[in-house]
């Protein structure tokens, strides 16, 4: 049966006015851009909505972060919604983990085109375009959907559609609403790291879901990564976050424009709207490379990417691997800054965006040719033994250093969670190499 033709934009994890993470010192201008990036993105989304003449906008979770208490987010939302209201575009908001329904302040008079769906709501909502149902929207909850499925979709479609067409049925899985309370209280003061878990679908979803509730479009909202699963029938889709906020979210981001034509084809398309692009560029720094060459390399890497007109800022992280004098010189911030400044001036006219660069150096093993001294060997062994013998070595370290008091213990153990254990170990070993190799040299000399 063909669908009622419709078109909508699905966006998730807008995180309006949430701050980018993992950013070092940046210029004033860039900072402003970074701070505003989500808002600008939202504006872009609104523009896109208007431009594509969609029927409705679907926001699935984490539209803003409650704990930010952001005013600007609120204002931006109202502005945007009002704009949509003027064009009769409906907005459906499904609260997520960080923007629970209570945070939306329902007393406030949102524009009339805005509809809030509670995660506990399981009734099927009809989305209409002038008297005609173009789609149905339903919150699916892994534990509830079976019981609350009073009508098979086909029946519904027969009921509501006069033509021989059926409305697109959209299912929505809210981000873990059950654990919402716990997580909220837990990291109240912390910045909100979004779960990057790979477990996007609830367990045993695939098995049951396809048979029991055939939805044409399953809106996912967990995590920040964009992904699509083909289901039989329909697709499950997560548009990812509209605007990445750290280097982990450097992949394609944007919103999804879903078009359903009368032939019953469901087409989803990524609309890029990001104002800040997170770029991780990897470079191999060979021994003999000169600085100028390096700059050229970097420039090439940069210029290979085309800036979109909505992009305002590129956050570039150079992951440079290598060794040698030039590499070592890059360790100093001053040199890094000089390098990036040079790069920016060189590529200014060709890249009409702001560029903020950071360097992430990864020294390649240069000592492999030489026999490591006994000490280094021993040291490495010790560390390795420590790592393998203790369960969580970093926490072990915390308890090891007894001078820490309660607060510090807490603080540091909190930071342990965010830390790359391997990285720490590598650095430590690297340090050991640096320190102890000198003495071995001396030993050789003496």
């Amino acid at each position: 049966m063909p669908f009622v033709p419709t078109r909508f934009i699905h966006a998730s994890n807008l995180r309006l006015d949430h701050q980018p993470q993992g950013v070092g010192a940046v210029s004033k201008e860039s900072q402003t851009k970074l701070e505003d990036c989500t808002l600008i993105t939202f504006e872009e989304i609104i523009k896109a909505c208007l431009k594509h003449e969609i029927d409705f906008l679907l926001l699935t979770g984490n539209t803003f972060i409650d704990q930010d208490y952001s005013i600007r987010a609120r204002i931006a939302l109202i502005d945007g919604f009002q704009q949509l209201a003027s064009e009769n575009i409906q907005v459906f908001i499904i609260p997520g983990q960080h923007d629970p329904l209570s945070a939306w302040d329902l007393q406030y008079s949102w524009p009339a085109n805005v509809t809030f769906l509670s995660p506990q709501e399981h009734d099927v909502l009809d989305i209409r375009r002038e008297e005609e149902t173009v789609a149905t929207l339903q919150i699916l909850n892994a534990s509830h959907y079976k019981m609350h499925q009073p009508l098979k979709l086909n029946q519904r479609n027969q009921l509501f559609n006069k033509h021989d067409q059926r409305a697109l049925s959209i299912g929505c899985i809210p981000a873990n609403s059950s654990t919402e309370a716990a997580t909220r209280s837990a990291d109240r003061k912390q910045s909100v790291p979004l779960t990057l878990s790979e477990e996007i679908l609830p367990p045993d979803w695939q098995a049951d879901q396809t048979y029991e509730v055939p939805v044409d479009y399953l809106a996912l909202s967990k995590g920040t990564q964009r992904h699509t699963f083909e289901m039989q029938p329909g697709i499950a889709h997560h548009p990812g976050t509209a605007q990445g906020l750290n280097f982990n979210e450097c992949k394609n981001h944007g919103v999804t424009l879903v078009t359903v034509n009368s032939e019953g084809l469901l087409d989803h398309r990524l609309l890029k709207v990001t104002s800040v692009r997170w770029l991780i560029l990897e470079l191999n720094l060979d021994q003999g490379l000169s600085r100028q060459q390096l700059i050229q390399l970097m420039q090439q890497a940069l210029l290979s990417r085309q800036p979109a007109n909505y992009e305002k800022l590129w956050m570039v992280r150079w992951q440079i691997k290598g060794s040698g004098g030039l590499f070592d010189s890059l360790r100093s911030f001053k040199n890094q800054r000089g390098l990036s400044a040079e790069l920016v001036t060189e590529s200014k006219d060709r890249l009409p965006v702001l560029i903020e660069q950071s360097f992430y150096l990864q020294e390649t093993e240069v000592y492999s040719s030489r026999e490591p001294s006994d000490l280094i060997h021993l040291y490495q062994q010790q560390l390795e033994a420590f790592k393998t013998e203790t369960e969580s070595p970093l926490n072990q370290l915390l308890t090891h250093t007894a001078q820490l008091d309660q607060t510090w213990h807490q603080r540091l153990s909190a930071s342990v969670e965010q830390m790359d254990e391997q990285h720490v170990f590598n650095t430590a070993i690297q340090n050991g190499h640096n320190w102890l190799s000198i003495s071995s040299d001396e030993e050789v000399h003496s």
Partner: protein, 1416 residues
């Protein structure tokens, strides 16, 4: 190098000593204390490295300056040498040698011998005594330490050390150990700040949300206000419009109404009204006339009707006439009849009144009330009443008398029953009188009885008196009898005399006797006869009286018998009938009887009186009875008369027919009634008869009238009053005739009027026709309508005009307000006042709303502004961004921190691993030795990287520091290290012999054996060891382990003994030793009993031989020109000190040395070290030793010894002291003394002692540590009781002891917090205890430091000896000076001397010599 022979030409106390041959292995030398073992050790070192300066000095002081010279035969590198050193004037002696082969210089040989081992290393490693073994410091000399540790810190170790330093630094930079500084701290601080600000943001956001809500609200408000405003304005307009439109509309409406009301008139005649009026007027006139006529006719008709006639009455006119005529007569009759009837009624009434209730007229009717009967009744009544009165009187009198009699009789009866007891009066009277007599008689008798008794008594008394008087007293009788007897004797005598010599005299006597006797007899007789007579008389009298009395009594008894009971019973009210109790007559005493009797008498008298009265009364009553009988008779008679009379009366009544009654009044009343009734009855009958005919006539008349009435059908009349009816009828008849005439006249009149009216009727009809035609013309039914129509027509025209005008006006108004439709209803309900009111209110409201609108607009504006501000406020985002940045930094920093922590962990493990595995060889070897020495208890010696102290692992794997070891183990450790070092040296080709001076003394049995075995093992490895000991058991142990000890000869006796012989006579020597031991048990134990002990020092001995001086001091003294003891003693201590100008050489110290030297050199048997001990005990002069009591000195020495127990060579026995005292008394004198004392024998010692005191202000101390005389003794040891500690008094010490702190050691180890808590004394807090501890520690560690000095130092902030040691004297002095001036300082010092610069300098010096606290 191996020593094969030791030969001493002259060295110290040794001369010409030859010890040979020596083993290449271990050699044990036994010699008691003072034998010169240490000297030998020094000598060997001296040979190898040159003599020490003090040895040189000592030598130079020796008077017989034989150069010191000693030689050793050695094997070195396969060559045999004989090396020798001799003292020379300068330097450290000459070295010379003889070798088998020539070709080497002395110097090269020495260098070869030394093999790089310099002197200090030699001293600290090869030649060691107990001293060296006990001090860790001896291992810390640069060179020695280098040997032990120097190589431990290889480049790798160094690298590790460097890295760890670096790590510590970087960790410190990131996060300092106190968690207060560091990059992480700063970052977290920043984070906290930002978080704080962000916390504010929450509120800000809420404020914003509130604000936006408010804004919305205010906008809504404003909208609603505007809406309301518009509404109001519309309303106002409406009202205004209404106001304007209403008036014209109203008019239009009213006009419309009017118009509606007005009928529509089409045609109306001209002047119709006037015509109509005319017609109407005419019509009115005609009708008026017609009406008048009609009324006239009617009136006439009525009048005629009124005069209409009643015919019935006329029919009976005659009857009525007759009746009217009879009327007056009948009326008179009737009146009469009525009167008669009323009289009858009265009479009847009276009769009824007379009749009683029960009586009927008929009953009374038969009683004849005749006057006879009346008379008869009256007489009968009179007679009856008379009789009745008589009877009543008699009866009454009788009754009265009878009653009186009864009373009297009753009284009499009572009296008699009271008095008579059933007897007659006379009888009773008689008995009473008789008894009276009896009683009188009794009283007489009683009286008599008493009289007789009195008399009898009197006689008896007289008799008695008489008898008493009559008798001669017994004494007279006796006398008289004796006279008589004497007379008899005299008679006998007289007879005998008379027979023989003087018969005459006897006779005389006899006669005299007879005479006296006779006289006595006569006298007696005379008196006695007289009285007897009288007595007899009296006796008779008594008898007479007695008889009399008896008689009287008998009579009394009889009387009493008769009377008593009766009397008694009479009084008690009993009858005297029972006489049974006669026998039980109680004997009454006199008084009772008297009283009873008189009572009885009185009673009897009374009774008699009463009885007499009773008799009289009986007589009288008898008389009364007689009278009574008489009276009764008479009254009976009267009664009979009365009965007759009564009968008569009754008869009379019966006859009269009255009811029988005894009452006369009743009878008469009845009689009277009856007569009255009869009278009235008669009257009644008469009256009745009289009125009867009258009644009949009247009734007849009445009936006639009634008949007439009935006939006339006039029932309306009251026929009961026939006269009225008749009168009526008559009057009616009269009026009827008058009316008939009148009617006829009126009929005529009527006829005329009727004609007149008919004419008028015609006229009127014409007029009406005319009018109606007019009305029809006007379209009206009647006149009103017509007129109305006329007016309305007029009005209508007018209204139509007005309506026209109003409508135009209304149109105009409505045109002005186009939008507002006119609602009729509104207009209908319109009220102009209300409307204006409304309008006003609306206007006011409008104003309000406008004002509100302005304020809301303002508010909105403001809110909008705020909103805008909040909207553009990006601080929140900014802050969050900042926080993120900080977090990033923190992440990086903590990553670094973790890295460095991790590196630290790795490194520390690396380090410990390294430390354990890569120890210097020395320590590895030493570990092995230690294991052997401690029988495997301690295994491993290692030293931490970069440090210079050894650590020891024990069996259990614990790691201990040196301080944690017991002193014995420590010695073993140090020995092991030295052995290891020696082994290493040996491995490097150094073959110096090892000299051990009694190093095993503190080892226990097992470890000693282990040590000996170890030493043997080392010796087997090719190390030559010279082992000196003063302990026999050690020697024996060595022997047991295969050694052959060398018995060192006594220095003092060795001159005579040949070493070889000495050596050979080894066994023999031992035996003799044993003998000596037994011998010496009296005077000494160890020493081989010297007969005359040598002097410890000679005047010429170099000052080195004092033994207690160190090199520097010796050098100093040498510089001052003091080479020998002699020199030392020649000078004044102060002088020397001044000359020396050295800080560490104080006058006190020098004085001490002088004293030591003096003692050692003046008293035999005292060695210099013993002298030092004595000095430390406070004994500085020889004569002090000589004069002191043994016990006292022993006590002193013993206490000193306790503190220096380790120094076995200083063991002083009591017998030694005894010797000392002995020798002190024969002490030699130094020449300075000699010379001085010659001049001023007293001054010097006093001076010296003064100087001594100056140093030793406090003489009480006994505890010293004479390691070196330059270092003053320690005033505080850890084993001392806690009371000795500075600042701690006995009280506090007591308190401390209570909580288990007994010694200084305990105190130093205590936990101040705990102690202060335990003490619960307010002034002792934790701080105080810490302070005390510091003081105690100072006093413990720094020699020569007193309690108060320690207090001062601690108060000045010096808590560690090291700090003091490194402080410049000036600085310290300034501090102390400043402190001493304070109150606290004064308190500490009390009256003591302020510490001067010198003293403070001493403190610093001593601090440098401070011992470790643990080792102390």
């Amino acid at each position: 190098m191996k020593i094969t022979r030791i030969h001493v030409d002259q060295f110290g106390k040794w001369n010409d000593l030859n010890l040979a041959p020596l083993n290449t292995g271990i050699n044990v030398f036994y010699g008691p204390n003072e034998t010169g073992k240490s000297t030998l050790m020094r000598m060997i070192r001296g040979i190898l490295y040159g003599f020490q300066p003090e040895e040189m000095r000592e030598h130079s002081r020796v008077s017989n300056s034989v150069p010191w010279s000693a030689l050793l035969d050695i094997q070195h590198k396969g060559q045999a040498y004989e090396i020798r050193r001799q003292t020379n004037s300068k330097g450290r002696g000459n070295f010379s040698f003889q070798a088998e082969s020539r070709g080497t210089s002395g110097q090269t040989l020495l260098t070869s011998l030394h093999a790089g081992v310099n002197e200090s290393v030699y001293e600290n490693v090869f030649a060691i005594g107990l001293n060296e073994l006990q001090e860790l410091g001896t291992l810390h000399g640069d060179q020695v330490a280098q040997h032990i540790y120097g190589l431990s810190l290889g480049p790798e170790g160094q690298a590790i050390l460097d890295v760890s330093d670096q790590l510590t630094q970087s960790r410190q930079k990131l996060l300092s150990s106190d968690l207060k500084t560091g990059k992480l701290v700063d970052l977290y601080q920043q984070l906290d700040d930002v978080n704080l600000k962000l916390g504010d943001l929450e509120q800000q956001a809420q404020r914003f949300f509130k604000l936006s809500n408010e804004l919305q609200q205010s906008q809504a408000d404003s909208d609603s206000l505007k809406k309301r405003k518009a509404g109001l304005q519309y309303q106002i307009r409406g009202h205004r419009f209404l106001d304007r439109a209403w008036r014209p509309w109203q008019e239009v409406q009213t006009l419309h109404q009017k118009l509606k009301r007005l009928p529509a008139i089409s045609s109306f005649p001209e002047n119709g009204v006037a015509l109509l009026n005319e017609y109407d007027q005419n019509l009115k006139q005609v009708e008026g006339k017609l009406g008048e006529l009609k009324t006239e006719i009617q009136r006439l008709g009525k009048e005629i009707e009124r005069y209409e006639l009643d015919n019935d009455l006329l029919n009976f006119a005659s009857n009525i006439q007759s009746l009217a005529e009879q009327k007056d007569w009948i009326a008179d009759l009737e009146q009469q009849y009525q009167q008669g009837e009323s009289q009858v009624q009265d009479a009847e009434q009276a009769l009824n009144q007379q009749l009683g209730q029960d009586q009927t007229f008929n009953e009374i009717r038969h009683i004849k009330t005749t006057p006879d009967n009346n008379q008869r009744l009256i007489t009968a009544a009179r007679a009856y009443r008379l009789a009745y009165g008589k009877r009543k009187n008699a009866h009454q009198r009788y009754k009265r008398v009878s009653r009186k009699y009864q009373q009297t009789l009753a009284l009499l009866q009572e009296q008699s029953s009271h008095l008579l007891h059933g007897h007659s009066i006379d009888e009773e009277l008689q008995r009473a009188r008789e008894r009276m007599k009896h009683l009188e008689r009794l009283s007489q008798l009683r009286f008599r009885e008493s009289e007789v008794l009195i008399r009898q008594e009197a006689v008896k008394e007289q008799l008695l008196r008489l008898q008493d008087h009559a008798r001669i007293p017994s004494w007279a009788q006796k006398m008289l009898f004796s006279f008589a007897l004497a007379g008899m004797l005299l008679i006998v005598a007289g007879i005998w005399r008379g027979v023989s010599d003087a018969t005459l005299i006897g006779l005389i006597f006899c006669l005299a006797g007879v005479f006296y006797g006779g006289t006595a007899w006569a006298l007696k007789k005379h008196y006695e006869i007289n009285t007897d007579d009288q007595t007899e008389e009296m006796q008779d009298e008594i008898w007479a009286l007695d008889v009399h009395l008896r008689e009287t009594r008998q009579e009394i008894d009889r009387l009493l018998e008769d009377e008593f009971f009766s009397l008694k019973l009479v009084t008690e009210g009993h009858s005297i009938s029972s006489h049974k109790h006669q026998e039980k007559l109680p004997t009454l005493n006199f008084n009772d009887e008297n009283i009873l009797r008189t009572e009885l008498l009185h009673e009897l008298a009374l009774k008699i009186g009463e009885l007499e009265q009773l008799k009289v009364a009986q007589d009288r009553s008898q008389k009364t009875r007689l009278l009574l009988v008489k009276l009764r008779n008479r009254s009976q008679e009267i009664q009979r008369v009365f009965s007759g009379k009564r009968h008569e009366w009754c008869e009379c009544l019966k006859q009269l027919g009255l009811t029988e009654t005894l009452k006369i009044d009743d009878a008469f009343q009845m009689w009277h009634q009856v007569s009255n009734v009869n009278l009235h009855a008669n009257q009644l009958d008469q009256e009745k008869r009289r009125i009867k005919p009258l009644g009949e006539i009247v009734n007849m008349y009445y009936s006639r009238v009634r008949d007439l009435g009935q006939r006339m059908n006039r029932n309306q009349h009251n026929f009961d009053k026939p006269f009225d009816v008749i009168t009526e009828w008559a009057r009616e008849l009269d009026t009827l005739s008058v009316r008939q005439e009148e009617r006829t006249r009126l009929r005529k009149e009527e006829q005329k009027l009727r004609q007149e009216s008919d004419a008028l009727q015609l006229n009127r009809q014409e007029l009406e026709h005319q009018r109606s035609s007019l009305l029809i013309q006007g379209g009206a039914a009647n006149r009103e309508e017509f007129i109305q129509r006329a007016t309305s027509l007029e009005e209508r025209i007018q209204v139509e005009n007005l309506l026209q005008a109003s409508q135009t006006e209304l149109e105009k108004v409505s045109r002005s307000e186009q939008e507002i439709a006119i609602v009729e209803e509104d207009l209908l309900n319109f009220n102009p006042d209300e409307n204006t009111e409304h309008l006003e209110m609306l206007n006011l409201e409008l104003e309000d709303i406008e004002r509100d609108l302005v304020s809301v607009a303002e508010n909105t504006g403001r809110l909008k502004q705020d909103f805008q501000n909040a909207k553009t406020d990006r601080s929140a985002a900014h802050l969050r961004f900042e926080r993120e940045q900080i977090l990033e930094q923190i992440k990086q920093a903590s990553e670094k921190w973790f890295t460095s922590e991790l590196s630290t962990v790795g490194l520390s493990q690396l380090r410990s691993e390294y430390e354990r595995t890569c120890q210097p060889e020395t320590l590895t070897i030493a570990s092995e030795y230690l294991r052997q020495l401690t029988n495997g208890k301690y295994r491993n010696i290692w030293t931490p990287l970069g440090e210079q102290f050894p650590k020891i692992d024990d069996q259990q794997g614990h790691t201990l520091t040196v301080n944690e070891l017991s002193s014995g183990t420590r010695e073993q450790l140090f020995l092991a290290i030295r052995l290891a070092m020696v082994e290493r040296f040996r491995n490097r080709g150094v073959e110096l012999p090892m000299i051990l001076d009694d190093v095993l003394v503190n080892f226990d049995q097992e470890r000693t054996i282990a040590a000996i075995e170890t030493l043997n093992a080392i010796a087997e490895k090719g190390q030559q060891i010279l082992f000196f000991t003063c302990h026999l058991h050690l020697t024996r142990l060595f022997e047991d382990h295969g050694g052959s000890p060398v018995w060192l000869p006594d220095t003092n006796s060795q001159t005579s003994s040949s070493p070889a012989l000495f050596h050979q006579a080894d066994n023999l020597e031992q035996k003799s030793d044993a003998e000596i031991f037994t011998d010496s048990s009296i005077i000494g134990s160890d020493e081989p009993a010297p007969q005359v002990p040598a002097y410890g020092l000679e005047w010429s001995s170099p000052i080195q031989s004092l033994g207690t001086l160190d090199d520097a001091q010796i050098r100093g003294l040498n510089q001052a020109g003091i080479q020998t003891i002699d020199d030392l003693l020649n000078r004044d201590a102060d002088q020397i000190a001044r000359k020396l100008q050295q800080d560490h050489l104080s006058a006190g110290l020098i004085f001490e040395w002088q004293s030591q030297a003096r003692l050692a050199s003046s008293i035999r048997g005292i060695t210099s070290s013993q002298a030092a001990l004595l000095v430390s005990c406070g004994i500085t002069e020889t004569n002090e030793v000589a004069t002191i009591a043994l016990e006292e000195l022993w006590a002193l020495v013993e206490s000193c010894q306790q503190s220096s127990e380790d120094h076995s060579d200083l063991v002083i026995e009591q017998h030694q002291i005894q010797q000392w005292i002995h020798w002190a008394q024969q002490a030699r004198r130094h020449r300075s003394d000699r010379s001085d004392t010659a001049l001023q024998p007293e001054i010097k010692p006093s001076k010296n002692s003064q100087a001594g005191r100056e140093y030793r202000r406090d003489q009480s101390h006994v505890s010293t540590d004479n390691q070196s005389p330059t270092i003053p003794p320690f005033y505080l040891n850890r084993s001392m009781p806690v009371e000795e500690a500075p600042s701690i008094g006995s009280k506090t010490a007591h308190r401390l002891e209570k909580i288990g702190i007994f010694t200084i050691d305990d105190f130093l180890q205590c936990n101040p917090e705990f102690v202060s808590g335990k003490l619960t004394v307010r002034h002792i807090n934790e701080q105080t205890i810490r302070q005390w501890k510091t003081q105690t520690k100072l006093a413990c560690c720094i020699p020569g430091l007193r309690g108060h000095d320690a207090q001062i130092l601690a108060a000045c902030g010096f808590s560690e000896p090291e700090i003091i040691a490194h402080t410049s004297p000036h600085e310290l002095f300034e501090k102390v000076k400043a402190f001493v001036k304070t109150n606290k300082g004064q308190r500490i010092l009390r009256n003591g001397k302020k510490p001067d610069f010198k003293e403070i300098t001493d403190w610093i010096n001593w601090s440098q010599k401070a011992r470790a606290l643990r080792a102390a």
